[in-house]
């Protein structure tokens, strides 16, 4: 083979290749673009659909009650005496979710810190697996356990001692406890959200570069001080996100709460003590959806859905605002 034919071969090959390389047809690329665009568009479509469905379904109740739907405390579906006010359920939702957060967030972060910073891998690996397993347990399983087992423990070990000690003079601990109340609901909710918050928090903490920890150690920081000055600031926004994810679940959780909250109705559902029976927005919908005979009652339940939607949106927006105020560092140069 002489050099001339080699050169010809080369040019021939280039021609062939350039036809391929420069051709504009890249069907897979377009298909891929279409698929991801569709997937992204789907979320918008879904939101629009939900807004339409609940808006349409709740017009009847809003024209009947007006803004009183948000502030009213009566809830009566009896024909001729209809009154629907969501306020007790809004309060019930906030109180149970609040109890769940107060207990759940510190415990979750404690678990995450133990798993990522303190325990050796031979302990943290199986423990992390168990936690992820718990996060996957359906809430009705927690609900059954709470209803048949856990609530008796709560009554005997926590509620009765508290009631006997403080019940007479602190209204917060008033009302004879029997285990189906906002306190039980809050605790069981916290048990449900702890695996999720701690699993996410652990991932976040593990993603903190060791160089950050070493920077703190090298200044003579103890383990706790290292967490405080190097690790937590690094993941602050992420931990907030994890907590708000948990809050979102606690606010929207339905069946678990329905089983243990005692299902009070109307003004009785405004908790006056930790041991009050109550209801949340979601549990009222679950309780009454089947037996809503009139279209007004049905519309009222959908109206509760609207309130729930607004509440979760407000929580998310509030969380974002809080976050942007707390984390004031401009992105700058990252490693």
């Amino acid at each position: 083979m002489n050099s001339a034919t080699l050169k010809d071969d080369h040019q021939e090959r280039r021609k062939k290749l350039s036809n391929l390389l420069l051709s504009k047809k890249k069907p897979m690329d377009r298909a891929f673009f279409g698929i991801v665009l569709g997937a992204a568009g789907y979320t918008l479509f879904l939101v629009a659909l939900i807004v339409y469905a609940v808006g349409d379904g709740s017009t009847e109740i809003f024209s009947y009650e007006g803004l009183e739907f948000f502030t009213g405390t009566d809830w009566n579906a009896v024909y001729g005496r209809e009154a629907f006010g969501a306020l007790p359920y809004i309060i019930g939702t906030l109180v149970t979710a609040g109890i769940a957060m107060v207990i759940g967030v510190p415990v979750s972060i404690g678990i995450a810190v133990f798993l990522s910073e303190i325990s050796p891998p031979r302990i943290s690996t199986p423990l992390s697996f168990v936690i992820e397993l718990l996060a996957a347990v359906p809430s009705i399983v927690y609900g059954l356990w709470a209803l048949f087992v856990f609530r008796f423990w709560i009554v005997d070990l926590i509620e009765k001692p508290l009631y006997n000690a403080f019940g007479d003079w602190i209204p917060f601990f008033g009302k004879t406890p029997f285990g189906l109340d906002v306190f039980t609901a809050g605790i069981v909710l916290s048990i449900m959200i702890i695996p999720i918050i701690s699993a996410i928090s652990r991932e976040l903490l593990k993603a903190v570069p060791d160089t950050q920890r070493e920077a703190a150690y090298s200044l003579g920081a103890t383990r706790w001080e290292t967490l405080r000055i190097a690790v937590f600031p690094y993941v602050k926004s992420g931990l907030f996100g994890a907590a708000f994810l948990g809050l979102g679940r606690a606010v929207g959780e339905t069946i678990l709460v329905t089983m243990v909250i005692g299902n009070a109705v109307g003004v009785n559902a405004i908790p006056t003590s930790l041991f009050s029976q109550s209801q949340t927005l979601a549990s009222v919908i679950a309780n009454e959806f089947n037996e809503a005979a009139s279209s007004l009652h049905l519309s009222a339940l959908i109206g509760l859905g609207v309130v729930l939607l607004m509440l979760t949106m407000a929580i998310n927006i509030g969380g974002m605002l809080l976050l942007s105020r707390m984390v004031k560092v401009s992105p700058g140069v990252r490693e």
Partner: protein, 288 residues
């Protein structure tokens, strides 16, 4: 070859068998070196492990006061492990352990009674990659160690922050933006910020683990210059994979290979007239 791979113990004088902590051990060194500064940090039979893998095989070495000591050697030779043993940072890595002695002014930092946290307050460290605290301002980064250790006097902190930034040759560049985040600085500036952060603790020894490996040549030479200027106030130990850097910046050089200290001596002697064949081969670029 068999000769060059002998352990460092055999190469050192018999007086090495230390019994008392305060006893200073003479290390054999070239005759032309006359004024050897006193040992600031004496490393005796120091061994380090990662799990069951031995990374350091009995290191003996004296770090001289107010001088710059460089650790050189090919990748995996244990130079980074060694420097991380000198402030007990090594054992912070999960599974890692160390034993032996590292005697700082007569106190063995590996003594069971010594709290590793207090060691790190006396011995500063600068890392391969600049690692300022991302959520802190320039000022807070430098002040972090002081605040951590309970210093509240605002005036004192102000003064130390300024002094440290000047010591790290960063003050002129950042004096008008002390409240901006440290992460907004360039890589070289970030590394000097980390040096300032370490200097603010008024360390007696500064350990630098390849401090310029992530930086461009100009930023590197700035750091080299400032390291050179620091030795009047403190003792510097620097790990570098860059032999020219070791030759330029250090007074003493230790060459390590496969977890052993092969040769330790005056930098000039190590680079111009190494006693060990292995050192000579490494210096001249035949391996590593």
């Amino acid at each position: 070859m068999s000769r060059t791979l002998k352990g460092p113990e055999e190469e050192l004088s018999p007086t090495l068998q230390v019994s008392k902590v305060s006893e200073s051990v003479e290390i054999e060194r070239p005759t032309e070196v006359k004024d050897i500064p006193p040992a600031k940090l004496s490393i005796r039979n120091l061994e380090a492990w990662f799990g069951t893998k031995r990374a350091l095989k009995g290191i003996n070495l004296d770090v001289r006061e107010n001088s710059i000591t460089a650790f050189i050697g090919p990748s995996g030779c244990g130079k980074t492990t060694l420097i991380r043993c000198l402030n007990r940072m090594h054992e912070m890595t999960p599974g890692a352990s160390a034993k032996g002695q590292a005697i700082l002014d007569g106190m063995d930092m590996y003594d069971a009674k010594v709290d590793p946290v207090t060691i790190k307050r006396r011995i500063g460290m600068v890392f391969q990659k600049p690692n300022p605290f991302p959520t802190m301002s320039i000022y807070d980064n430098v002040a972090a160690g002081l605040k951590l250790n309970g210093i509240k006097d605002k005036k004192l902190i102000d003064d130390i922050v300024r002094e440290s930034l000047e010591g790290a040759v960063l003050w002129e560049e950042v004096k008008n933006e002390l409240n901006k985040p440290g992460m907004g600085l360039s890589g070289g500036q970030q590394q000097r910020l980390c040096i300032a952060r370490a200097l603010a603790m008024q360390p007696e020894i500064l350990l630098m683990d390849e401090p310029t490996s992530a930086l461009d040549p100009i930023a590197s030479s700035k750091i080299e210059e400032l390291v050179h200027g620091m030795k009047k106030d403190l003792t510097v130990v620097i790990v570098t994979h860059n032999m020219q850097q070791a030759a330029r910046v250090s007074d003493y050089t230790a060459f390590m290979y496969l977890g052993e200290l092969i040769e330790y001596g005056d930098t000039k002697q190590i680079f111009e007239n190494p006693r060990m064949e292995l050192t000579e081969r490494y210096i001249s670029g035949k391996f590593g």
